[in-house]
Symmetry: C2
C-alpha cells in the first residue's frame, strides 16, 4: 500500500493502550491521519512511502497538548519577576497589556509562541487571550492545532467594550473557523472574580449550543476564594455550580485551593482540571493536589500558563515538574508515574478539549500529531525505560521532528512553516519598544 | 599587556558585587586566573590576547557549583523510578551497587557525569561516593574541579570493610591530591543513621586537622528524624551538635525537616545547607525551607543529588526549581529572586566548600572558572533582564563555552578534554550489562 510517510522508530509510545512501549515499530501516515502502527519488518513489506524516515535512536509520542496558555504574552517573557502577585499584575502586566495589546502584538506574540511550542513538541494548545481571531489565523497559517479562547471579562479592553461585544466578536471567530481542520474554539470567561453571574449564564447556554468547551481560571489563589466568600457568601466553585456551568465542558485551570468534597464534586460533574505547576509555584499561588484529583477520578491535564508567569512554554519541563511535585505534595513517590504524567499531557488534554476521538494518542485513524524525541544524547544515557527517561531526564531540545495533521512542521530541529530569523527579528523589535516603557 | 584569552561578552554577571550586570564588558584570562573584567573598549586597547573571543549574544557567569552529587551513579540514571523510597533503595539501588560498584564503574560513571556537568555549565562539584580516588583521577584528567568525598559508612562495602579502613583509605586519597590545583577533599560520613558516634567524633577531629569540610545527608526525611528520636532520644541535628560536629565546616544536605530553633542554631554555628529540591520532590522527602534558611542567615547552596534520584545533573534546571519552589513553600513570590538563586549556585557553594577565596564569583585574581550562555535563542527572546532570563527561561543546552582554571573545557558545545563518542559507547556497554540484572 502507498502512504505518504513511513517512520521507522526505535520506540513508539502510543499512550493508549496504557503503559505500552513498542520497540522497533513503524508508523505510517497517509494524508492527515495515522494509517498504521506495526512492527518495522511488517511495515517495510506492507507499505511503500513517498517519504521514508529512520529514527533509530528516537521515541515517537503523541504531540503534547498544552491545555492552558496565553500565547501572545510571549512578548512579555521575563518582563518582570520575583514580585508580589498584585504588584506584578497592577504595576507591570496590566499596564503593559493596556499599552501594547493590539492585533499586531497578538499575531507576532502568538507566532513566537507557536514556534517555541513546536520546537518543544507541543502540537495543540488551549489559549486564552485578546484578539483570538488573530491567534487562530497564525495557527492556521503555521499548521498548528489550537483551541482559541473566546475571551470574556467584565471590563472593557482593546478587544471589546461590553458583554455583548465580547460575545458577538467571540461568536464571529467561532463561525469563521468552524470548518477549519486545525482551529477549534472554546469560551474563555477569565475567572470567577472578573466575570459576573449574568454573562456566565449566557456563556453556559452558548457553549452548549455551539458544543464547545469552557476554559476558565478557577481557585488559583486563596485570596480569590476568600474574596468570593466575602462578596458572594460562597466559594467560587460553589457559585459556578449554582450557576449550572460546571460540567464535562469545563476546563478549570489552576485549582490550588480544593477541599475533599469539592474534588468529589468535580469528579461527579466531569470537570477537567488543568494543572499548571510551574506557574503556581512561581506566583506562590499554592499546590494543586494533582495526584489526589486523579485518584478520585478527575480528568487532570497539564498547562504551562503564559510565558509571563512561567517563563516558557516547555511541556516536557512542565511534565517533569508536575511528576516530581505531585510526589512531594502527596507524600508518596509512586504517584504521577512517568506513564500517567505523559497521559496527562496528551490524552487527558485531548479529552478535556473534546478532541480525544482524533488526537492525544497514536492509533490508526487518529490525526497524525506526532513528536520524535532523540534519546541518544549524553544527558539521556544510559537508558533503561524510555518513558521514564523522557519525563525525568528529557530536554525539549531533544525534540527532533514534529508532525501536525500529517504535515511535518519541525524537521531535524528546523521549523518548516515559520521562519526562525524573522521571528527573532520581530521579537527583538517588540523587545526594544516594550523596554522603553 | 599580553594575556592568554580575552572574551568580549554581551553581559558579564560577576555575582559579587551583588545584583550587578555589566553590559559589553570583557574578561581577560591569564594562565589559570581572571586578569581583569573591564569595559570592552578599554579591554581592546589594554590587552593583547593569544585568543580573542566574541560572545556578543552571551552572558558570562561564574561556573556553577553543584554541592551534592554521587557522580558515578550516572550509570544508574533512570534505573528505577516512581517507587517508594525504601523499596527503591532496598530492592533496586543497593543491590545494583552491590553488584556493580567497582573502580571501573566509578571511573566510567564519573567521566559521564563530568561531561554532563561541563555541558551544563557546572565547573565544580562536591561528591560522595565509593572509590573517591578514581573520582579524583577522572577530574584531574578531565580538567574538572571537584571536592571528592572521603566516604564513611558503618557497614562494609566494596570500598572498605571497617571504620579504620574507610579512614585510612580516605586519608590516602586526601594525601595523594593535597597539592592538586583542581581536586580537593571533604569527609563524607553518609548520614546520621548510617554512621555511629565514635567514627563521627574521629572524623570531626581529622577534618579539623586536615582543614577540610564535612559533607553529610542530614534530616532528609521525617522517618530519619523519628528513627533517631527512637534510637538516640533526640533529633539527628541535636545528636550531631552534641558530638561537636556542627560547624562552618559542615555541609548539611537535604534538610527537609527543620524547626525554627534548629534553623537559628544552624545560622549561629555557621553550618551550610545544601538544598536539593528536585531530589526532595521526586523522592517525596519533603520541602526544605530554603528562603527561611537564607533569611535567618544560613548559607544555602544548591545540589542536584545523584542522577539515580533526579535524574540529571542540570544546575540550570535545579536553580529554576529552587527559585520557583521556594516561593510556593514560603507563600511569598519575592523570595529566591533570580540574583539570589544564582548566588546560591555559585558563591554560596564556594563558601560552603571553603573555596570562596578563589571561585564562585568573577573577579580579578579568582580562578578562571567561567560559563558562557547563549541567550539569543527563540526560547529566551525577548530579553529584558539577563539574570532572570537564565533562571526562569534558560536551558542548559544554551551553555556554549566553559573554562575551568583558565582552560577551555567546552568550546561551542564541544567537549575538549573528553571524547563524546567514547563516553556514549562506554555508557551503552554499562547499560547492556546492568539491564541484564
Amino acid at each position: 500500500m502507498q502512504v505518504d510517510t513511513l517512520i521507522h522508530a526505535r520506540w513508539i509510545i502510543p499512550v493508549e493502550p496504557e503503559n505500552t512501549v513498542h520497540e522497533n515499530y513503524s508508523l505510517a501516515i497517509n494524508e492527515d491521519k495515522i494509517e498504521a502502527i506495526i512492527p518495522g519488518d511488517d511495515a517495510r513489506s506492507k507499505f511503500k512511502a513517498n517519504n521514508e524516515i529512520n529514527l533509530d535512536q528516537h521515541a515517537l509520542i503523541p504531540g503534547l497538548i498544552n491545555t492552558h496558555t496565553h500565547a501572545a504574552m510571549s512578548l512579555f517573557r521575563g518582563l518582570s519577576n520575583d514580585l508580589p502577585l498584585m504588584e506584578w499584575l497592577n504595576e507591570h502586566i496590566w499596564p503593559a497589556e493596556q499599552k501594547w495589546v493590539n492585533p499586531d502584538f497578538v499575531s507576532d506574540g502568538t507566532e513566537l509562541a507557536v514556534a517555541e511550542m513546536i520546537r518543544g513538541g507541543t502540537t495543540c494548545f488551549n489559549d486564552m487571550y485578546f484578539f483570538p481571531g488573530h491567534t487562530a489565523e497564525v495557527c492556521a497559517n503555521a499548521g498548528m492545532r489550537a483551541v482559541v479562547g473566546l475571551i470574556f471579562i467584565d471590563f472593557p479592553t482593546a478587544w471589546a467594550n461590553d458583554a455583548d461585544e465580547y460575545l458577538v466578536k467571540g461568536e464571529e471567530v467561532h463561525d469563521a473557523y468552524r470548518h477549519n481542520p486545525l482551529v477549534n474554539t472554546a469560551f474563555a470567561p477569565h475567572a470567577p472574580y472578573t466575570v459576573s453571574d449574568e454573562p456566565l449564564k449566557r456563556i453556559n447556554v452558548l457553549a452548549e449550543e455551539l458544543d464547545i468547551p469552557i476554559h476558565m481560571h478557577i481557585h488559583e489563589t486563596a485570596f480569590e476564594v476568600e474574596q468570593s466568600i466575602e462578596q458572594h457568601g460562597k466559594r467560587p466553585l460553589q457559585r459556578l455550580k449554582d450557576l449550572g456551568i460546571l460540567s464535562s465542558r469545563m476546563l478549570a485551570v489552576h485549582m490550588t485551593q480544593l477541599e475533599l468534597n469539592e474534588i468529589e464534586e468535580l469528579a461527579k460533574l466531569g470537570v477537567s482540571v488543568v494543572h499548571c505547576p510551574e506557574s503556581n509555584l512561581k506566583l506562590a499561588s499554592g499546590f494543586c493536589p494533582a495526584a489526589q484529583l486523579g485518584n478520585l477520578g478527575v480528568n487532570v491535564c497539564i498547562g504551562t500558563d503564559g510565558t509571563a508567569s512561567n517563563n516558557d512554554l516547555d511541556m516536557i519541563g512542565e511534565m517533569r515538574t508536575a511528576a516530581i511535585l505531585a510526589k512531594a505534595v502527596a507524600n508518596d513517590c509512586t504517584v504521577l508515574d512517568a506513564h500517567t504524567t505523559l497521559r496527562m499531557a496528551t490524552l487527558n488534554g485531548a479529552k478535556a478539549l473534546g478532541l480525544d476521538e482524533s488526537i492525544g494518542s497514536l492509533k490508526k485513524g487518529n490525526q497524525a500529531d506526532i513528536v520524535a524525541i532523540d534519546l541518544e544524547q549524553l544527558e539521556t544515557i544510559p537508558l533503561y525505560e524510555p518513558v521514564e527517561q523522557i519525563i525525568y531526564s528529557g530536554n525539549r531540545q531533544q525534540v527532533s521532528d514534529v508532525w501536525i495533521a500529517g504535515k511535518q512542521v519541525l524537521k531535524d530541529r528546523e521549523l518548516t512553516t515559520l521562519e526562525y530569523s524573522r521571528l527573532m527579528d520581530k521579537a527583538k523589535e517588540w523587545q526594544e519598544k516594550i523596554k522603553e516603557r
